[in-house]
C-alpha cells in the first residue's frame, strides 16, 4: 500500500516535464527539489534524533563550494612561494567529493557537540555555519569572496560505451535532482527502519533507558550527523552545478530557516513530511508572485506557516496519516512512523 503510494508519487513527479513546458516553473521545481533534499537531510537529525541543526546550510554550502572548486580548479599560496594548485576535475567527481567533505564536517561538528547535545548542538551548528560563511567571504584567493565563483561547469554523467551526458537543460537537471532525491529518500528510509533508526528513536524518547540496553549515544548521533551532512552536501553540489554561480550568501541563515520550515510544516520525523512541506513552501512564491507585492508575499508566507502549525501542530503528514488510520479504525501510528507497520514494505 505504502510502496504503491511511493511509486505513484515518483511516477507523477517524473511525468511533470512531459506536460509542464514553462521554464520559469521548471526552474522553481528544480531549486525546490534541491532544497527538499536538504530538508530531508535535516529531518534525519531533527525528526529522528531530536537534534536541531540551525546551521544546516553550512553542509549544503560546503558541498556547493567543494563541488564548484573541484571542477573549476584553484591555485592558492601557502607559506610564501609554496602553492597548492588543483587542476580542474570533471564535475561528477566534485559531486562525490562534496558528499565526502560535507560528511566529514558533519562528523567533526557531531563529535564536538554531541557530548553535551541539545542547546549546545544548536549553538555549535549556528557558529559553524557563520564561521564557514566568513571563510568563504574572506578567503578570496580560494573562493573569490563576494565576487562569487562563476562559470561552474554542468555535471556530465559518463555513459558506458557512449560519450557522456551533460546535464545542461532544465529537463536534464530536473531528472538529476529527482534521481538524487529518490536515492536520498530510500537511504534515509532504510536507515530509520534499521536498528540505527531505532537507536536514534530510543535516544530521543528516553536516553537513560536507551543506553541501558546498549545503545551508544555519541556513535549513534554522530552517524546521523554524518549521513545528514553528506546528503546536504550532495544537494549543495547539485545547486552549484545547476545555478552555476555561488557566493557566500549561500550560507545565509534564511536558507537554514527555509529547510527548517519545510521540515516542521510537513511533519518532522515523517519520511514524506519534508517533501510535502518543501513543495508547499518552495512553490508558494511562484504562485503568490503574480497576485501580490513582494512584501505581501512574505506576510502571506508567514501566515500560511502559522495556520499550518496552528491547525496541524504535528505537521501535515503525521496529522493526515493519523486521521486516515482513525477512519480505518486502527490505532494511530505514533508520529507517523511505526516500525511495526512497515514490516513488509521496504521501499524499492
Amino acid at each position: 500500500m505504502k510502496l504503491i503510494a511511493t511509486l505513484v508519487s515518483i511516477a507523477a513527479l517524473a511525468s511533470v516535464p512531459l506536460w509542464l513546458r514553462d521554464p520559469y516553473l521548471m526552474n522553481a521545481l528544480i531549486t525546490t527539489g534541491i532544497f527538499i533534499i536538504g530538508a530531508m537531510s535535516l529531518n534525519l537529525l531533527l525528526g529522528f534524533t531530536g537534534q536541531l541543526s540551525l546551521g544546516h546550510v553550512a553542509f549544503f554550502g560546503i558541498g556547493a563550494y567543494t563541488s564548484a572548486l573541484t571542477s573549476l580548479g584553484f591555485d592558492i599560496g601557502v607559506f610564501g612561494d609554496f602553492h597548492i594548485v588543483h587542476e580542474p576535475w570533471p564535475p561528477i567527481a566534485g559531486f562525490f567529493l562534496a558528499i565526502v567533505v560535507a560528511g566529514l564536517c558533519g562528523y567533526l561538528v557531531g563529535r564536538l557537540s554531541f557530548r553535551v547535545r541539545g542547546a549546545y548542538f544548536v549553538i555549535v551548528t549556528i557558529s559553524f555555519a557563520e564561521v564557514v560563511r566568513l571563510v568563504a567571504l574572506n578567503w578570496i584567493e580560494l573562493t573569490q569572496g563576494p565576487l562569487a565563483l562563476n562559470n561552474i561547469r554542468s555535471i556530465a554523467i559518463p555513459l558506458p560505451g557512449l560519450s557522456e551526458l551533460v546535464i545542461r537543460t532544465k529537463l536534464h537537471n530536473y531528472y538529476l535532482v529527482l534521481t538524487v532525491a529518490v536515492i536520498a529518500y530510500v537511504l534515509i528510509a532504510r536507515l530509520v527502519r534499521s536498528h540505527f533508526g531505532r537507536a536514534m528513536r530510543g535516544l530521543m524518547e528516553n536516553e537513560t533507558l536507551a543506553v541501558s540496553v546498549g545503545i551508544d549515544v555519541t556513535r549513534t548521533l554522530t552517524l546521523a550527523a554524518v549521513i545528514s551532512a553528506a546528503i546536504a552536501g550532495a544537494a549543495g553540489s547539485l545547486y552549484a552545478h545547476y545555478i552555476r554561480i555561488i557566493d557566500p550568501d549561500i550560507f545565509a541563515f534564511i536558507n537554514t530557516v527555509t529547510m527548517v520550515i519545510m521540515v516542521i510544516s510537513g511533519g518532522k520525523g515523517s519520511l514524506a513530511g519534508p517533501i510535502v512541506g518543501g513543495l508547499i513552501f518552495g512553490l508558494m512564491p511562484v504562485f503568490l508572485r503574480p497576485i501580490m507585492a513582494p512584501e505581501a508575499q512574505w506576510i502571506a508566507y508567514g501566515g500560511v506557516l502559522i495556520v499550518i502549525l496552528f491547525l496541524l501542530p504535528r505537521g501535515i503528514v503525521p496529522s493526515f496519516s493519523r486521521l486516515l488510520s482513525k477512519q480505518r479504525g486502527q490505532a494511530p501510528a505514533p508520529d507517523g512512523m511505526a516500525f511495526a507497520k512497515n514490516d513488509a514494505k521496504e521501499p524499492a
Binding site: 531505532r198 533507558l209 543506553v211 541501558s212 511495526a340 514490516d343
Partner: protein, 260 residues
C-alpha cells in the same frame, strides 16, 4: 558454598556527593545464577549502588568487576555489552512506542549489522531483521503481553509497564539482570506472577540482583539478602537469618518503635 569466582564483585565502593556520604565502603558479591536482594530503608543507597554497578555513576572510591572484568570507567552501554543490564524505577519504557517497537529498540545489541548492509538492504540485514522481529514477539509472549503487542507502552497500566521494562532489559541479552523496585505499584496477584517470572528468568541462567521494598516478595524470591542502612551494609545472609536479625529489625522498626 562453591569456590567459583563470583559473577559480580563490589569492593570498597564509596560515593560522596559533596559532603554527603551516600555509600561508604560497600562490599558484596553475587554468584552466578543467584538471586540476591538489596534492601534497606529509603535513602539507604540502594539505587545509588545500582547506578554505580551499571555505570551511570562513577564511585569516589572502590571498584566493581563482573566475571573478572573491571567495570571502572566503562559507559552504561559498554557495561550492557558485557552482559549487565538493569531496569529502572520510574522510566521503564519508551512511552510513545508500541510494546513491539520498545522490544525492537531493546534488541539493539542483537540487531547490529554494518551500515552499508542496512542501507543497501543486503540479505544479512534482512535476515537479522526477521530474527529480531520474531524475538520481539517471543519476548512479548513470554511476559504475557503478546496480545497487546501493538498497544502504546505509555497506555499500559503501571504493572504492565514494569513487565515491558523487564522484557526490554531481557531483549538486550543480559547474563545478569538488575531490577530496581520491579513490583512497586503492582497488586498482589501481579506481584505473584512477577515472582514466577523472576524464577523463570533465573532458570534460564541469568543472575539477578534486586532492589525492592516489598518484604514478602523479597523473602520469597531471594537466595540471599544484603541490607543497607545509611550507606553501609548492616546485615547479609539468607532470608531466614535476615528476618530475625536485630540490626535489621531496628533499622526498619526500631526508631519508630522507640519514639512511639
Amino acid at each position: 558454598m562453591t569456590t567459583a569466582v563470583p559473577a559480580l564483585k563490589v569492593e570498597h565502593v564509596a560515593i560522596h556527593f559533596g559532603g554527603l556520604v551516600a555509600l561508604s565502603d560497600l562490599n558484596f558479591t553475587v554468584d552466578e545464577g543467584e538471586i540476591v536482594s538489596l534492601i534497606g530503608p529509603n535513602g539507604a543507597g540502594k539505587t545509588t549502588a545500582f547506578n554505580i554497578v551499571t555505570g551511570f555513576l562513577a564511585p569516589t572510591h572502590g571498584s566493581v568487576s563482573y566475571r573478572g572484568t573491571p567495570l571502572d570507567g566503562l559507559k552504561p552501554h559498554q557495561i550492557a555489552d558485557i552482559g549487565l543490564v538493569r531496569t529502572f524505577q520510574r522510566t521503564s519504557v519508551f512511552p510513545n512506542d508500541t510494546i513491539y517497537d520498545n522490544l525492537l529498540i531493546g534488541l539493539h545489541r542483537q540487531s547490529r549489522v554494518h551500515l552499508p548492509e542496512a542501507l543497501l538492504g543486503l540479505p544479512r540485514a534482512r535476515l537479522t531483521e526477521r530474527k529480531v522481529r520474531e524475538r520481539a514477539h517471543e519476548l512479548a509472549e513470554w511476559v504475557g503481553l503478546g496480545r497487546r503487542i501493538h498497544d502504546l507502552a505509555g497506555s499500559l497500566s503501571y504493572g504492565e509497564q514494569r513487565l515491558v521494562g523487564v522484557a526490554l532489559a531481557l531483549a538486550a541479552g543480559p547474563s545478569m539482570l538488575l531490577l530496581d523496585e520491579p513490583v512497586s505499584g503492582m497488586n498482589a496477584s501481579e506481584t505473584h506472577t512477577f515472582v514466577e517470572l523472576i524464577r523463570n528468568i533465573r532458570s534460564r541462567g541469568v543472575t539477578i540482583l534486586l532492589v525492592e521494598h516489598d518484604m514478602p516478595m523479597v523473602m520469597s524470591v531471594s537466595d540471599r539478602i544484603v541490607v543497607l542502612n545509611y550507606g553501609r551494609i548492616i546485615a547479609e545472609g539468607p532470608p531466614d537469618t535476615i528476618r530475625n536479625d536485630p540490626a535489621v529489625i531496628e533499622a526498619y522498626l526500631g526508631k519508630a518503635a522507640v519514639h512511639a
